[in-house]
C-alpha cells in the first residue's frame, strides 16, 4: 500500500508540474503570437517603443557594412526599411536578400540596436544546380525586360 501511495503522489506531483508548465507555455504563446513586426509597422509606430521587440524582413541588398566589431545593415519589407546595428555572431544563413529576424530596441534616432540576429529561411529545398538554373532564368528574364 505504501508504494502505491508513493506512486500516486509522484504522478499527481508530475501532473501538477505539467499544469504549471502548460500555463507558462500558454502565456509565452499569447505574448509571442506576434513574433516580429514588419518594418512598415515600425514606421507607422505600431511597434512597442521603449522595450525589446523583434523586427522581421529581408536583409536589404548592398546594406551590410562592417565597422570593427559592429555590423550595420537594413531590414526591409520592400515598402519600408529600418537600419540596424549589431555586434555579435551572425548565423550562417544571414545574407543580403534573405530573411532575418532581429531582436533589440529602437533608438530615438530611428536606428535599431539588435542584441540577437536570427536567420529566417524559406521552405524551398533544392540542389545547388537547380538553384543556379533558377538564378540564371531570373537573370535572363530581367535582361529581357530591360
Amino acid at each position: 500500500m505504501k508504494s502505491r501511495h508513493k506512486r500516486l503522489t509522484l504522478i499527481l506531483g508530475g501532473l501538477l508540474l505539467l499544469v504549471g508548465a502548460t500555463a507558462l507555455v500558454l502565456s509565452a504563446f499569447r505574448e509571442n503570437l506576434v513574433f516580429f513586426h514588419t518594418p512598415s509597422e515600425v514606421a507607422e509606430g505600431k511597434a512597442p517603443t521603449g522595450r525589446t521587440f523583434r523586427i522581421g524582413g529581408m536583409v536589404e541588398a548592398g546594406s551590410i557594412k562592417r565597422e570593427g566589431v559592429e555590423v550595420h545593415f537594413a531590414v526591409t519589407d520592400t515598402a519600408r526599411s529600418i537600419p540596424v546595428v549589431y555586434s555579435g555572431p551572425l548565423p550562417d544563413l544571414f545574407k543580403e536578400g534573405k530573411g532575418a529576424v532581429v531582436q533589440g530596441k529602437l533608438g530615438t534616432d530611428g536606428v535599431f540596436t539588435a542584441s540577437e540576429v536570427l536567420a529566417k529561411h524559406d521552405e524551398n529545398y533544392m540542389p545547388p544546380e537547380a538553384q543556379h538554373a533558377i538564378d540564371q532564368a531570373q537573370q535572363t528574364a530581367k535582361t529581357l525586360q530591360q
Binding site: 505539467l18 502548460t22 504563446f29 513574433f35 522581421g56 551572425l90 529566417k120 529561411h121 521552405e123 529545398y125
Partner: protein, 254 residues
Amino acid sequence: MSTSESRFNLYHYAAPQAFYPVAGKLAPVFAVIALVLTTVGLWISFFKAPTDAVQGEVYRIIFIHVPAAWMSMFVFLVMAFWSAIGLAMNTRLSALMAQALAPTGAMFCFVALWTGALWGRPTWGAYWVWDARLTSQLLLLFLYLGYMALVAAIDDPRRRDKAGAILCLVGAVNVPIIYFSVKWWNTLHQGASVSLTKAPSMATIMLSGMLVMAFAAWAYTIAVALYRVRVLILERERHADWVRGELARLGEAN
C-alpha cells in the same frame, strides 16, 4: 448478405478478445514494413538526395524532423478519434487503442522538438525561440505527458478511460493550431514545404526520401501500438477465461 456479414465482423473485432489475436498477426507485418521502409528511406536521405543549395548538408535533418512532427500531430488526432468512439459507443477497445498510441506519439513529439533544435541552431542561429509553431508543439508534448500521467493515476478503468478521452478531445484543438500556426501568425519557422493546397517546394528526390521516412514512421507506430495494445488487453481482461489460457500459453513459451 455481405453487408450484414461485414457489420457482424466489425462488431466482432471491436471486442478485445477477438482483436487480440488479430493484433498479434498484424504487428509483425507492420514491423517488417517499417524496417524495409526505414532502410530505403535512409538510403535515399543520405545517398540519393543531393545537398541543399542554401543550407548544405544540415538540411538532411528534415528526413526525420518532418515525419516525426507529422506523426506526433497525426497520432494525437487518432487518439482523439478513438476517444470519441469510446465515449459515444462505450467500447472498451477504443480507449485501449488511444492509450497504446500515446507513448509513441510522445516519442515522436520529442524527436520533432529535439531535431528541430539541432536544426535551428546552425540555420536560424538559435536552438529555441518562443514563436507560435515551436510553442504549440511544446504544448503538444505536455498534452501527451499529461495524458499518460492522468491515465496512470486513475485506478478505476472506466473513469480512467473517460478522463483520458476528455483530455484527448480537448487537447486535439491544439493540433490544427500547430499546423496552421505558420500561416495564421508570423513565426520564425518557415511555412510548409508539402501541403495539399500547393505543389511541394522541394526537389523530387528530397521529397521522396521524406515521404518514405514518413510511411516508415506510420508503419512503426502501427506495429508498436499493436504490440502495446495486446499487453493492455491482457491487463484489462485478466478476469476473462481466455486470458488465463493465453497467459498459460505465454508461460510455457517463456
